[in-house]
Symmetry: C2
């Protein structure tokens, strides 16, 4: 079976210099993959030539004349750049030419354009961003939402839990992933009103065997791997994720302080590698009528290749179909309708 992935080759901090080597390397690993490179054709062909891959049988180029810049406001990406590499890559998913799409572009723009082009799935109020983080059990922790929705109601968090559970189940082959609700303590009385009401919804699903709700968890449980899935609103998720990235950067900079500690870090490298955030690159935009994956904007080729891998696996494991089924089965039909233009996070995750 061939799985086709469209790649926004112009997105991210580095553009084709990173996205194309990543694509070529991925094709070497994965014989079932076919990649459609989207962007300014001359630039893409030049980079392909440089990489001696201008006639790869499973690579094609789709021209798109515009580029969504990392600091473009959502409105610009949405209304003024209709031939952007980002948009064209997503349109390939919509028209069935690709099974999933990958972009390292501006998160807010990617979410907005994806919602506009693909539309939101039936019974889903708001798509969410789901990423994976490494944990002490040596497995990935699936966490969502990471910034698409800064003001959430309980039924939004409930939907995030269902979507995160489906993604984790499909990608990791876990029957019923455990779901933790991020909170300031583990007891039922803890938390703000939204979180408490969400716990009630999730407990009801748990009791009828629909979801595997573990209960409240705390910030440190993300890295302990207490649950397979961690649910939170986009404000908390985004701040937490960026604080984590900030601390990781701080550690790295401390190591670079002097030669001796660089040497130490080098020796400890094998263990540190386990924490390599690059291999955890590739966040899913869940709840759309199509699969879109977001790479970190600053990812190098190795990191971007992991994002392609995530999109490929999601398509291979039929995440989209499983999402539809689970949502149709679990989502309460009485969900209040959402006003159009709900808050969308703009900066990169």
């Amino acid at each position: 079976m061939t799985i086709k992935i469209s790649i926004d080759c112009m997105g991210g901090d580095h553009g084709p210099a990173v996205t194309i080597p990543a694509a070529i390397s991925f094709l070497k690993q994965e014989s079932e993959a076919e990649l459609i490179l989207v962007g300014r054709e001359d630039e893409l062909r030049a980079e392909l030539k440089k990489q001696h891959a201008d006639s790869h049988p499973r690579l094609s180029v789709k021209n798109a004349t515009e580029v969504v810049a990392m600091d473009d406001p959502i409105e610009v990406a949405l209304r003024r750049k209709k031939d952007s590499s980002m948009r064209v890559a997503i349109e390939l998913v919509k028209d069935g030419s690709a099974n999933a799409c990958v972009s390292a572009g501006n998160t807010g723009a990617l979410m907005a354009v994806s919602r506009y082009v693909l539309k939101t799935m039936a019974d889903v109020d708001r798509p969410a961003i789901c990423s994976i983080l490494p944990n002490e059990k040596g497995k990935p922790t699936y966490m969502l939402d990471l910034g698409a929705n800064v003001d959430c109601e309980p039924h939004h968090l409930h939907q995030f839990a269902i979507m995160g559970s489906v993604l984790c189940s499909a990608m990791e082959g876990i029957g019923k992933p455990t779901i933790g609700l991020l909170n300031v303590g583990t007891e039922d009385i803890k938390g703000n009103e939204v979180v408490k009401a969400t716990a009630t919804l999730l407990r009801a699903d748990h009791e009828r065997g629909a979801l595997n709700f573990y209960g409240n968890i705390e910030g440190n449980d993300i890295f302990k791997g207490t649950t397979d899935v961690v649910v939170c609103d986009g404000f908390v998720g985004n701040v937490t994720l960026k604080a984590i990235e900030g601390l990781a950067h701080f550690f790295k900079s401390a190591f670079r302080d002097n030669l001796l500690s660089m040497l130490g870090a080098l020796i400890a490298y094998k263990s540190l590698k386990k924490l390599n955030p690059k291999s955890y690159n590739g966040a899913g935009l869940l709840g759309l009528k199509g699969l879109v994956f977001k790479s970190h904007g600053g990812a190098d080729a190795y990191g971007f290749e992991w994002a392609i891998r995530r999109a490929f696996d999601a398509a291979k494991y039929n995440v989209q179909e499983q999402l539809s089924t689970m949502i149709a089965e679990l989502m309460p039909k009485s969900t209040p309708a959402e006003a159009p233009g709900a808050t969308i996070k703009q900066s990169s995750v």
Copy 2:
């Protein structure tokens, strides 16, 4: 000038075995300090004897027959353990026998008992927990609230900003510390409604020269040291802090994976030491009519000594008086009155 600190010697995971060696060591460093050790007198005297410090001229013992356990509900600490070491230590601040108090006990209980015994300062709606974190500039980042208030209105966050600024100014000798509002992006349009309204309040203070408001910051700015003070609600603050602790633990456990990486970590130790969280122990409970500092429950003697140091410095630099002055000056008098019994976080920070 002598500064007296009351110490809840029974609190935390280790009790007198940690608190008393820390107290003795601190007295060696600080000739102006006088410490009042609070707890079960026989246990404290036994530990003092063990440490050959049973007749130190600047150490006294105050008997308290009960102990607030780390998992005691707030109600138990508040209503049933009226002779707890925690409560007696706080009462010594109230009656003027001590200039500040330190406890490693249960955060929720410490906040509740402090509020009950000392009362909240005039014009402050809710006390907040303010801790320091290391940053890449080699300075501390003051962050609040870290869990006392999970549901916040803009005027609460506004008050946290004022209190954090005063503490940072007094402790670090910075005239007008920069204040960052934790958000999902730096632009004014970013964030949820509470954060946007808070920014408006802080900008007004900035424009009239009352506070030094930097603007919105993101999670990674905490460790970059972009601003001296970071303001957020207690839900976001608590989850972020615990996620950070979780990641730090993950790094440590990765280093312990094998002998070689332990060696590497050892070589890199000098740089890692800079990040030593122990020296950043001691969170201030701000907004009470008296100074209370909270040590991490699991702190060792070295860490607990840092919490005593924080309390001592806060008393020495007249933080309480400065808080009163700044709050009287800056706090809008139209602040809505707060219902009693506002949410208090219970688990340890």
